[in-house]
Amino acid sequence: MNRTVLIGMTALALAIGGCAKRTPPPAEVTPPPAAEANPNSTDPNSLEVVELPALQADLVAKAGSDTVYFGTDEYSLDQATQTTLAAQARWMMANPNVRASIEGHCDERGTREYNQALGERRANAVRDYLLSQGVPAARLVTTSWGKERPVATGSNEEAWAQNRRAVTVIIR
């Protein structure tokens, strides 16, 4: 009777960084750059975003962390967070060819839609700080996962504290 319409497939990107060698470097196995998203498109396929896991690992290694944490119902940045973000900003300046998706998350002790708003507040606060450190605005996008992607599964203060976070995700 009714059929579910598949709403698109993620373009798989395999970015293999070449290093300087006498032999030709391995070919980059990447699809062509995505066409500029048509802002008036109503096709969900036009919105896909490509993560870059190797560079993500490099961010974590060089900046110390890709994640900063927040108090309950808060979106302010404490000193430890600012230190981490300053290091992330330096990494972004040293890697000018990628962008970052700043992604806010919440613990489960909030209602669904309010948490979507709170996550965006957190992401926005992090983005503002990175901007203040000189990262160009065009390289940063923000989003909110609300409480949809917890990393810790308990229902206790320790788990909730781990889930109240903003993650800097390196994207093409």
Binding site: N2, R3, T4, V5, L6, I7, G8, T10, A37, N38, P39, N40, S41, T42, D43, P44, L47, E48, V49, Y75, S101, E103, E108, R109, T111, R112, E113, Y114, Q116, A117, L118, E120, R121, N124, A125, D128, V141, T142, T143, S144, W145, G146, E148, R149, P150, V151, A152, T153, G154, S155, V169, I171
Partner: protein, 431 residues
């Protein structure tokens, strides 16, 4: 000689004729006050092998209202097609039942079947109401739900609500890697199917006023986006093009507009856009998180939550965004409001330690808490304004489940979903 009463036949799928008999009568008091549970017999319906399943669906529907103690169909005596309209009332009285649902099933010349439904007051020894429903063979469940609605309406004085569907988010997998899919089912759990495949996280699907479309939120390109989905065809499209974080969508009562939240630069406000596309119109512009908008049934006002005062509270505004005023003043925080289709109540999630479902009048008074879970949230109204569905999340890593509760009080009833579920939306009455 076969004597059958001339039936006022409701052809399902061809007309939306109201159950007029049920609407005009006051509640029938049978064998006690309306608040005690009525013992009602639902024997196997004669005339077709499907008569047992029809009776089972009717009995299950009646049990779900919290108003009835249905007996049968197993263990009850059978009766003939001729006896459907003229049962042996003394025998039923002796069996200790106050009411009886009888009927029969017969084929029609056009290949469909008629399901005849009779409600009897056994105590008084008379029929209260009857109606016939013409359905295709595969649609027999609709006839059973319509019959149960006829019985429920006549005995409660309320509008029907059993011939409805639920759309919700089905949840599987561990808490830190949950797979979420939009799913749809009849309100008794039958005809369950998935509408999305689970690749993207999805939340908050809501029916259009005629039940033919949905709006829901899907995480596409790592952002929450509002999609408009046609239930019959499965076609869908982005409702608000552009690079925005959008969520919390709901249809207006005339089905023409969708109200929603957009988050930008650390601020979330409420907008409305035509369901057929076009530029959004901004409704709120205060610092703070304004979200969870819900129209009044006359389409003139919108209730929403905002933390502009410092924490989440409920506000009402005119549909053009003017006249924003706070209505919640009890202790605690108030979220995720939903305006009853009957217009007289607003359901909400109250956060005061635990999360509980409550209702209040649209002016903010008369607050009544309906549930007692640890984390109950996201109320959705039955179309008759008598029941509220919500999801209950347990402490720890277990899955959330859907529950329904009567506004009269009483325990919440778990909905029969195949897996965990959240964010239910109750459809209008099916055509």
């Amino acid at each position: 000689m076969i004597k059958r009463l001339a039936l006022a036949c409701l052809s399902l799928g061809l007309s939306t004729a109201a159950l007029s008999q049920a609407q005009d009568e006051p509640p029938e008091v049978i064998g006690g006050s309306v608040r005690t549970s009525t013992a009602i017999a639902v024997p196997v319906m004669p005339g077709d092998v499907i008569g047992r399943q029809v009776a089972e669906v009717i009995a299950s529907d009646l049990r779900s209202t919290g108003m009835f103690t249905p007996l049968g169909p197993s263990g009850l005596p059978s009766y003939s097609v001729e006896e459907a309209g003229n049962p042996a009332y003394p025998s039923w009285r002796n069996a200790g039942v106050a009411a009886l649902v009888s009927g029969y099933i017969e084929p029609r010349p056009d290949g469909r079947m008629t399901v005849a439904c009779y409600l009897h007051d056994v105590t008084a020894g008379r029929e209260l109401v009857h109606q016939g429903f013409a359905v295709t063979g595969s649609d027999w469940r609709r006839a059973a739900h319509k019959c149960a609605d006829l019985v429920y309406s006549r005995l409660s004085g309320q509008q029907p609500f059993l011939d409805t569907r639920v759309v919700y988010v089905a949840e599987t997998g561990p808490k830190n890697n949950r797979q979420k899919r939009v799913a749809i089912m009849d309100s008794d759990g039958s005809n369950h199917r998935y509408l999305t495949i689970g690749r993207n996280t999805v939340v908050t699907p809501r029916f259009s006023p005629r039940g033919d479309r949905l709006v829901y939120v899907s995480y596409i390109g790592r952002k929450p986006r509002v999609l408009l989905y046609d239930v019959a065809s499965g076609q869908e499209r982005l409702l608000i093009p552009g690079d925005h974080i959008t969520f919390a969508p709901r249809f207006s009562p005339d089905g023409r507009d969708v109200v929603y939240s957009m988050a930008e630069n650390g601020n979330t406000d409420i907008y409305v856009v035509s369901a057929s596309g076009g530029p959004p119109r901004r409704l709120t512009a205060t610092p703070g998180a304004d979200t969870s908008p819900s129209y009044s049934p006359d389409g003139r006002r919108i209730v929403f939550e905002s933390d502009r005062s410092g924490n989440q509270q409920l506000y009402v505004m005119d549909a053009d965004g003017s006249g924003q005023r706070r209505i919640s003043f009890g202790g605690g925080r108030y979220a995720s409001p939903s305006w009853s289709p009957a217009g007289n109540l607003i359901a909400f999630t109250k956060i005061a330690g635990p999360f509980r479902i409550g209702v209040m009048s649209p002016s903010g008074g008369g607050e009544k808490i309906l549930t007692d879970g640890w984390q109950d949230e996201g109320p959705s109204w039955a179309p008759n304004g008598q029941f509220v569905m919500f999801h209950r999340t347990p402490q720890g890593a277990g899955a959330a489940r859907l529950y329904a509760v009567s506004i009269e009080g009483g325990p919440a009833r778990m909905m029969p979903t195949p897996v965990g579920g959240s964010d239910p939306s109750w459809s209008p009455l099916n055509n």
